[in-house]
């Protein structure tokens, strides 16, 4: 059936984003199949359009149907790519890292990897220009990192539990703590935000 594979892509998106931190593999097969389908449909239309140009309209409904199928395929493909693209971009904020975790990166297409790099770079440029624009005469630059402070702060210090062995971690006051699996700490919330996002620490009440 026409457009079946492209529709499957859309259905896949739906199941994909029910799970917040997983990305399903880029469905190269269906995408390729849909490209081929488009080429075939287009070629058939090219042939069938000849009699119409001569004034014979009997092929017209077929051509219109194929054209609708082409449009639908295009729309499904764009939606698929666009939605995944936004999801990949949101990683930058959710994980506060410029390197995508391995298990996610494995499921990204090459182009999506490139996209993520470009996106991170664009965002970094923006944050840098923001910091520079606010530079005072004293020359002191206030660094602005928009991936920080994503939640309204409730208290300055929070209890955290280590989910993985991490090793030594340097705090903003110069002290270091050793983050060993299952150990609990009472630390500055702003220091440990990134580690919580990366799943190394867990915030406990």
């Amino acid at each position: 059936m026409l457009c079946q594979k492209s529709f499957e892509l859309i259905k896949q998106l739906d199941s994909n984003f029910s799970n917040a931190h997983e990305l399903s593999p880029f469905n190269e097969d269906n995408v390729r199949y849909t490209f081929e389908e488009c080429k075939t449909l287009f070629a058939q239309n090219q042939i069938d359009v000849q009699p119409v140009l001569q004034g014979d309209n009997s092929n017209l409904p077929t051509i219109q149907m194929r054209h609708a199928a082409l449009q639908r395929n295009k729309r499904c493909l764009l939606t698929y790519v666009y939605t995944r693209m936004n999801w990949v971009a949101s990683l930058r904020f959710e994980l506060a890292t410029v390197v995508a975790p391995k298990h996610i990166k494995a499921n990204m297409s090459d182009l999506e990897v490139v996209w993520f790099q470009k996106y991170s770079k664009t965002l970094a440029n923006y944050m840098k220009s923001l910091s520079q624009a606010t530079q005072t005469n004293s020359g002191y630059i206030y660094p602005i990192d928009l991936t920080q402070y994503t939640k309204p702060p409730k208290s300055l210090f929070i209890h955290v539990r280590c989910l993985k062995d991490y090793g030594e971690f340097e705090l903003s006051d110069g002290h270091t703590v050793s983050l060993v699996k299952d150990s609990q700490h009472y630390l500055l919330a702003s220091d440990v935000q990134d580690l919580i996002k990366q799943g190394i620490l867990e915030h406990i009440d």
């Binding site: 493909l77 790519v81 664009t122 220009s129 206030y142 994503t150 702060p153 300055l156």
Partner: protein, 264 residues
């Protein structure tokens, strides 16, 4: 014992003096100076006039509390309005100035002073507001990049851009990347007659007819509410100060920018 006591006293005093310099008279001046610099730069940049700027120019004294309130209002408006609002450059710059001051104060305060914790938390809250404000804008810019840029390029030169210079650069680069990604992933593999992205149709646009909650900050007379059916059953309403409404965003959108309406 005596020694310890005097230590605490002196550190409190040092914070106190820092405080008064950072949170009242001193910064007012600085803020104002800084601010006028900012607006001058802006008006030479765009030749634009707008209520907010003029208000601010007349307003010689703005306390940090008022400044935070302004940030809070801008943040809420931005959060609940379906479209991108004007960038509050002056507010953002002043807030960053404040943050710098507060960080300096905390750094120069004595270790172990219990006030440091309170100030740091306050600072974290302000930073959250500021960052969240900028983030919401970035999200909107990403979502509506093509329509925002199109609108910005079409705008007459006497109207101020909604984007700050940095945001404009970001939006352009972002859109360029999106186009490149979509072209490489999909469009260039399609037959020639389907390769056009046709952004006006495919890219999302803000839904200006979204319903919003709002509070009026002033008496507003004669708001025209059309019923969207061309039946001519348009309605003109007056709003009193302090009233709460739920209504479509479109009829009141100009009042959001001027501050007569606060989205909640």
């Amino acid at each position: 014992m005596d020694n310890e006591y005097s230590n605490v006293i002196s550190s409190i005093r040092s914070i106190n003096t820092d405080e008064s310099s950072s949170l009242s008279s001193n910064t007012n001046e600085e803020e104002y100076n800084h601010h006028t610099n900012g607006t001058e730069a802006y008006s030479t940049h765009t030749n634009g006039h707008d209520n907010f700027d003029e208000d601010e120019d007349d307003e010689e004294e703005i306390t940090p509390a008022e400044l935070i309130e302004k940030l809070q209002q801008s943040w809420l408006n931005e959060k609940f309005s379906p479209e991108l609002l004007e960038h509050k450059t002056a507010v953002v710059e002043c807030i960053i100035e404040q943050i710098k001051h507060m960080e300096n104060n905390i750094r120069s305060a004595k270790k172990g002073d219990f006030r440091i914790a309170i100030h740091k938390l306050e600072l974290d809250r302000i930073k959250f507001l500021l960052y969240s404000y900028l983030r919401i804008r970035i999200k909107k810019i990403e979502q509506f990049a093509s329509s925002i840029l199109e609108e910005d390029n079409r705008r007459p030169s006497n109207i101020r851009s909604k984007l700050s210079a940095e945001e404009y650069a970001y939006a352009s680069e972002y859109l360029k990347n999106v186009r490149a990604h979509l072209t490489a992933s999909v469009l260039e593999h399609l037959p020639s007659n389907l390769q056009d992205l046709n952004e006006a149709v495919t890219m999302p646009r803000p839904d200006l007819d979204k319903f919003v909650f709002l509070r009026t900050m002033d008496n507003i007379k004669g708001i025209l509410i059309d019923d969207m059916t061309n039946d001519g059953r348009n309605e003109i309403i007056d709003m009193d100060k302090g009233d709460l409404y739920i209504m479509r965003y479109n009829p009141i959108k100009s009042y959001v920018n001027s501050g007569e309406v606060q989205l909640i």
